[in-house]
Symmetry: C2
Subunit: 368 residues, 2 copies
Amino acid sequence: MADPMRIADLPTPSLILDRRVLDANLTRMRDRAAGLGVTLRPHLKTAKSDRVARLAHAGESGPITVSTLAEAAYFLDRGFADMTYAVGVTPDKLPALAALTARGASLGLITDDPEAARAIGVRGAELGVVFPVHVEVDSGSGRGGLAPDDPALVEIGRIVDGAPGASLRGVLTHAGMSYQCDGPAAIRAVAERERADAVAAAEALRAAGLPCPVVSVGSTPTATFAERLDGVTEMRPGVYMFMDLFQAGIGVCGEDDIAVSVVASVVGHKPAANRLLIDAGALALSQDSSLAGYGRIAAAGDLQVASVHQEHGFVEGASPLPFDRYPVGARVRVLPNHACMTAAMYDRYYVVDGGDEVVDEWDRCRGW
Amino acid sequence: MADPMRIADLPTPSLILDRRVLDANLTRMRDRAAGLGVTLRPHLKTAKSDRVARLAHAGESGPITVSTLAEAAYFLDRGFADMTYAVGVTPDKLPALAALTARGASLGLITDDPEAARAIGVRGAELGVVFPVHVEVDSGSGRGGLAPDDPALVEIGRIVDGAPGASLRGVLTHAGMSYQCDGPAAIRAVAERERADAVAAAEALRAAGLPCPVVSVGSTPTATFAERLDGVTEMRPGVYMFMDLFQAGIGVCGEDDIAVSVVASVVGHKPAANRLLIDAGALALSQDSSLAGYGRIAAAGDLQVASVHQEHGFVEGASPLPFDRYPVGARVRVLPNHACMTAAMYDRYYVVDGGDEVVDEWDRCRGW
């Protein structure tokens, strides 16, 4: 029998996913959703993996959220039919979405634009499908969506409800501003705003005689700390699966809850600058700069990737650095600032199960 | 006959490469190298495309530089045998490099570490190959490399020259600090420092009785503005092929010289925030933050992508924004801050030739 493959045998840089940490994160969020009485429709924009999606639903298929047409096609091919495509749709994407629908997907769309809503209804009919549509609500993030009291909300509801190629599924919001919070109390307040705005938007549709079966909210911080979700029917967190230094920084998790890391090799010493060079740089770690630096070295005190070139990372943070512990060729594990960005640089996960043995290899979807 | 495909027909986001601009950039750098009397060994870390590499050599194969093992394998498979792998090598990568060498690659390595040099010599012999090795010189960038007067330089030269599995090819440096320059005069000074340090390192090896046939320098700014390269044998610029807003910002090119852009769709209007939302965000544009914002909208005055989420970009920059000109579904072209980072997010180029007709599709190498 061949020796088992270990992290030390992998090419560097590679992306490591610890299934044990992943399972704990997935279980915790499933329990949250059940406790709050809502459906969990996890956002797969972070993991982009059917293996992870299935584990998120305790081994079954289930409702999911996607951010690209490539993800929609990938997950449909792997048995996930109930999807919400949670990026404002443009008319040119409708033929591809209709083709996926014709192949069996129930593909919910979102829009905050009356013209786009009209196009969905007309093109849906021309393409021979009925697109389920959510009106996108802005609950304070300032990204997509309409304020719950914006008259355009009901206008879009009426356009969709009256169109032969569309059906009104409900309202959807994303409390992106939860990422600017500092700690649970602030996140709880944002979660309540997200809930209240989504429910108010749903009530506005219903008051106009329109159906609104789905009231969808979601972000990992608000899903983690919401105290109640009365009136909400589903939530769509995503990064909770992997967690990252950003989530740890705002109090959503601890560093031990981070399931993904990049294994890199030391490729040089710069004692005069008190730096180690590693072969994970801007491409291997991403350039996410939501935190100082580009990732922390796991189990190494304050060592972090202080700056990056395309294929080089500069490790700094102790004076002097323990160069003897990290000769050229030594390996380090880098915890990501933002798991969505770092994971996106890779085409596969090397899966471990709490240790350093590579027990599996899972593919990922990329592109658009 | 089918209608020709146009940029307006592409899925968004997509990466566009304008062959006409590319050709002009490639010709200019070939002429520079010829005028300076050095070999052009272009760095393919930006383009990662054999089609571009061949055009860089006026339609032929030729010497190139690569930054990953994946690039080395990709280019070898496509007829490029003479490569320099310009990232400090670690011992664990030697078996894969030896396998490429056994398949016909002449794969030059770099190191600035005596222990790594010893490992190359020993492992090369064990693996049945002779690795050509450059000693990496630090000409001021503070990344990899030794100062030209560092005794370790000659020590490494001796280790390599005396090893059965390695041969001393020369010295190599990269004036990364040229990216911090403001304008041609400052870049010229950096180019002279790069040249002088590389030549001094070569002379140090020769004074110790060691061979040093190759003296390699390179960065797009220094290659563009160097006044003389006496004593240098080759240069390795990379981003010159595509150029970008960063190069334009330091005076290396104009915005009209930028050959790559991302085509994106308007997916929403936020008049209260005076913002357009587009479907190109952190993944489609990269998060390179070497400049303010994440890219400029081509032919649109001061409009730029001011901030990004994973799949959304927020366009700002005029007050008020011309919303009527950009309805939901309208398309924009985003010029990249840093072409290497933006191009790395895609698996292909949609090639145009000065217009909006898509005349070809070229693949790209990804990963490590």
